[in-house]
């Protein structure tokens, strides 16, 4: 071996070792973060935080079915007891009597710092007379019976004033003493995991604990009852399982099928192994590049490796089959320029994806670019040295002759392709308005059955779908809470006008220090209060003489320490507060989820925007944001696809330097795209973002085949051996992408069903249009 060859081998060996070391250290993730934007706007940032680490992502909903109501309730109690002891959950709620005593106790004990009704006027003679008379009126109603036991301590009804603002339908009904679905058919529990929502391992562990404890509890209680767990954590765990199992399954399937094809063609284990060398190098280089550039490698990126195997193995097929005929040196001279041009068009196509703001696409682009480039370079510079000067591929001339005959037949029938293309074009023109699906759900990995179970449990829990929320920011907790109180005051006017059903705010349970001080200052001196009560209650059924407990409580509240977050510990209000009050790098944010008015169930977004106008308060429509995000990806992908296409055409034009030849090469590509697009739509597949990317890849990958037909064909048409190498290379590419079509992960599936058939069509169409009639002997 010559020194330059040795140097190349040495460099390659070192690079591979370094690559393995980096890949070993890489972080892999299989969650949905690949759909979240790389450069988010402020509202998107709020949305991303909610999706990735919002407290909602730590909630699990549990349903118990089967048995009778009493048995389910017993199991629910036992499960709650076990889960509380497990220590893996920060909250386990099932509506058991007494489980909310701590909440009521907190609201009652601190009522003079918490009640929105506390003002100096409330404790004037007139204010006392009016509010106490109101409480007594309430006693006439069943609604006020709860006030009876606390009347002498809270005659002005501050507990009542607080409860009025809370969500009346915020809890599921109870049956046999625990929460149950509306039809009573299942018992319900609501859990908050200690593990973060982004910690998929922790979520998986928590779900496993629920399942294990459920089985223990059920075994103890006997009857056949079934468990259902839903929530963001469940989705994350399922999505990861799906992506993980599919990545290994698809890669294995693709590798086995391709090795089988290679073994059939080469009849030599050594050549098969050598042929996989560029592929392995490419895949490793791709992972390393993504890991270094992005920090984290998405599961779908690895899944895309199945397709990369099929594409990258092409170069070694060209080399082995073609050089077997003409020798390594002649191959380099005659075929390498065409292969190189094919590599460059592929790079142009994948490279366009690099500029996508959709991280999943950007990673795929970088991964595929690095992989293809590495595979080509290894084929060109390493493979000849390892394989020897003239690799012995078996004689394929018989196969080649048959293929050449087939190509000539295709050429005779090329008008059929034109006819089909015309039909396809007509179909697309008719349906041009409804081609693209405009919802981000197209990218979701969630199983529809899981989604249905989740929605059913969510409805039973009366858990609001937090579509609309108002968000305020502050440099610290105090200013964030003050901002929330100011936003709340604006929202109150909408609630009073019936435009809004209500809203949740952490400032209800944890008012800002300044508002607490303000309320404390509104409380009168006990002696003055006693005098005012004597006047106000002179002829009331509730005379001042009975109100000593009230005066004592006011006295205590005047000097009680102000509330902070720590005092919420042990109540469910802590959960609600933490969910809505969050600390992050830039300070503190408060979320105020909005509830629709009961009358028509729709929030008038324009009215809310108008009420918040002229402030720094953000109003977010989460569903709209997500769909807007998807629409922006789609718009961007269209631009990128066009840019990639332009780059490929420019590359071809610069190399071919002839308009007729350029048209000859691009014609089959255009026809293939039209046929695949119409075919997918005709089969009822809604087209989305990834199909669009797939069309770009048809051009990027398919141009290799068209180029071979155009550039290397002699006067007698493409020689049989070259044709054979192209058919084999095409088969491996179709296998690689076709396998992705079997995936249930929408991103991979879409690329597979687009590029697989597309690549095959390009070869067939190239054969039909670029085969020349054999010249007369």
């Amino acid at each position: 071996m010559s020194a330059p060859v040795l140097r190349a081998l040495l460099l390659w060996g070192i690079a591979m070792l370094a690559g393995l070391a980096i890949a070993w250290q890489s972080r892999f993730t299989a969650d949905m973060s690949f759909v979240l934007p790389l450069h988010p706007s402020p509202t998107q940032e709020v949305m991303i935080r909610q999706i990735k680490e919002g407290v909602v992502t730590r909630l699990l909903m549990v349903g118990i079915q089967g048995g009778d109501a009493e048995q389910r309730a017993a199991l629910s109690r036992e499960l709650r007891r076990r889960l509380v002891t497990s220590g893996e959950f920060t909250s386990v709620q099932n509506g058991e009597a007494g489980s909310q005593d701590a909440d009521r106790d907190y609201l009652f004990r601190n009522r003079y710092l918490l009640s929105p009704a506390v003002t100096p006027e409330r404790f004037s003679v007139a204010g006392l007379r009016e509010s106490i008379a109101h409480s007594i009126d309430l006693l006439a109603s069943p609604a006020g019976m709860m006030l009876k036991t606390t009347l002498t301590r809270d005659p002005t009804g501050e507990l009542w004033a607080q409860l009025g603002a809370l969500d009346p339908a915020g809890e599921p009904p109870t049956r046999a003493g625990v929460w149950a679905s509306r039809d009573g058919g299942r018992a319900l529990l609501l859990l908050q995991t200690r593990a973060l929502g982004s910690d998929t391992d922790g979520q998986a562990q928590a779900i496993a604990t629920v399942e294990a404890e459920f089985e223990h509890a059920r075994d103890a209680l006997g009857p056949a009852m079934a468990l259902e767990v839903a929530g963001p954590g469940r989705f994350a765990v399922r999505a990861r399982e799906t992506i993980r199992s599919e990545v290994s399954r698809l890669s294995a399937l693709s590798a086995v099928a391709i090795v089988a094809v290679l073994a059939f063609v080469y009849r030599s284990p050594r050549l098969v192994l050598l042929g996989l060398l560029p592929v392995g190098s490419g895949a490793l280089a791709g992972v390393v590049a993504v890991s270094l550039a992005f920090g984290t490698v998405f599961g779908i990126t690895i899944g895309f490796g199945a397709a990369l195997i099929g594409e990258a193995v092409d170069y070694s097929i060209y080399y082995f089959v073609q050089s077997g005929q003409v020798g390594a040196a002649a191959w380099r001279a005659r075929f390498w320029p065409t292969v190189r041009l094919g590599v460059l068009t592929s790079l142009a196509g994948f490279g366009a994806l690099l500029f996508s703001g959709f991280p999943g696409l950007a990673q795929l682009g970088l991964y595929a670019m690095t992989g293809v480039l590495t595979a080509a370079l290894v084929t060109r510079f390493i493979l000849p040295a390892l394989a020897g000067p003239a690799p012995a591929v078996r004689d394929l001339s018989a196969t080649g002759a048959r293929l050449a005959a087939a190509a000539r037949a295709l050429h005779r029938w090329r008008w059929v392709a034109l006819l089909l293309a015309a039909v396809a074009l007509a179909h697309l023109t008719v349906h041009r308005d409804g081609l693209w699906q405009a919802s981000i759900s197209a990218l979701s990995t969630s199983d529809p059955a899981d989604l249905a179970a989740d929605q059913a449990l969510r409805a039973d829990m009366a858990a609001p779908d937090a579509r609309y929320m108002v968000v305020v920011h502050g440099a610290d907790q105090e200013s964030a809470l003050q901002a929330a109180e100011a936003a709340g005051a604006r929202l109150d006017t909408l609630v009073a006008a019936g435009r809004l059903g209500g809203y949740d705010s952490p400032a209800r349970f944890l008012p800002s220090q300044s508002l607490q001080r303000q309320r404390q200052a509104a409380l009168p001196d006990p002696e003055i209060l006693a005098q005012r009560l004597a006047t106000a209650q002179a002829d009331s059924p509730l005379p001042a003489s009975r109100l000593a407990p009230f005066i004592a409580d006011i006295g205590a509240a005047r000097s009680q320490p102000l509330l902070d977050r720590a005092q919420l510990d042990g109540t469910h209000l802590a959960l609600a507060t933490d969910a809505l009050l969050e600390r992050h790098d830039g300070g503190w944010s408060v979320l105020l989820p909005l509830r629709p008015p009961a009358s028509d169930g729709e929030i008038d977004a324009a009215a809310v925007r108008a009420a918040l106008g002229g402030t720094h308060i953000l109003f977010i429509d989460l569903k709209g944001e997500l769909n807007g995000l998807y629409a922006s990806y789609l718009d961007e992908a269209q631009i990128l696809a066009l840019a990639g296409l332009a780059a490929i055409v420019a590359l071809l034009a610069a190399t071919l330097r002839s308009l007729p030849r350029l048209l000859a090469v691009t014609g089959p590509l255009a026809l293939a795209v039209v046929l695949v697009m119409a075919g997918l739509h005709g089969l009822g597949k809604p087209l989305h973002l990834l199909h669009l990317v797939g069309f770009l890849l048809i051009v990027a990958v398919g141009s290799n085949y068209a180029l071979f037909f155009e550039r290397t064909a002699g006067p007698g048409g493409l020689d049989p051996t070259t044709l054979t190498s192209m058919v084999v290379a095409n088969i491996t590419t179709v296998i690689g992408f076709g396998v992705l079509g079997l995936s249930s992960v929408p991103v991979l599936h879409a690329l597979g069903v687009t590029v697989g058939p597309g690549a095959a069509l390009v070869l067939i169409l190239s054969a039909a249009f670029l085969t020349r009639r054999p010249s007369a002997p």
Binding site: A97, I136, D137, L138, L139, A140, S141, P142, A143, M145, M146, K148, T149, L151, T152, G164, P168, A169, P173, T174, R175, A176, G177, G184, P541, L542, P543, R546, A598
Partner: protein
């Protein structure tokens, strides 16, 4: 929850709308079962330990057998309470509170037994109460003493009294010692 207990306790009177009466328990039951329902004005007095004077409220009640009841309070504060099958709805100050009875097994047992009274189902009634009827057809008093512990946690004694075939008063002695008296005056022609 105390709110629900209290609410359900009060539904009791509503269920016992105008009805006819008889000296014999079986006949009283039969008359109650046959009663077509109707309207009555009511005056309700709550004698609460915490207040010097009773809280008085008044309005109109309507009962349509077998399971629909409305109690419209006009004074001191307008309010509408509706019991339809197992759903209780309370409307007050433009706010609406809906409650399902089956969410509280104790309360459900209580309301079920009162339905049994209205339906004249003596055997169902005697599963939850000891019954004691005194007086004659012109002036009778029916005492219901809970034997079911879930009910006696809410109410110690219910006393229904009537004249002829009319229920005129229901007295309800709560477990905490407070007492509620509901006087009814049927509206003629209803």
């Amino acid at each position: 929850m105390k709110l629900r207990d209290g609410l359900l306790a009060l539904i009791l009177y509503a269920l016992l709308g105008p009805a006819s009466a008889a000296l014999d328990l079986n006949q009283l039951m039969a008359d109650l079962a046959r009663h077509p329902g109707g309207r009555a004005t009511f005056t309700e007095r709550k004698y609460l330990a915490v207040l010097d004077k009773p809280v008085v409220s008044s309005g109109e009640m309507r009962f349509s057998p077998p399971a629909h009841m409305e109690k419209r309070t006009l004074s001191p504060h307008p309010e509408v309470l509706v019991l339809d099958k197992d759903v209780v709805t309370l409307e007050r100050d433009k706010r609406r509170l809906t409650l399902r009875l089956d969410s509280q097994p104790e309360a459900l047992a209580f309301v079920d037994s009162l339905r049994a009274l209205l339906a004249g189902d003596r055997s169902a009634l005697e599963r939850s109460y000891a019954l004691q009827l005194v007086g004659d057809t012109q002036k009778w008093v029916l005492h219901l003493l809970p034997s079911d512990q879930r009910i006696s946690a809410l109410v110690l004694r219910i006393t229904v009294s009537g004249q002829g075939n009319q229920v005129r008063s229901i007295e309800y002695l709560q477990a905490d010692g407070d007492r509620i008296v509901l006087d009814l005056l049927p509206i003629a022609g209803s």
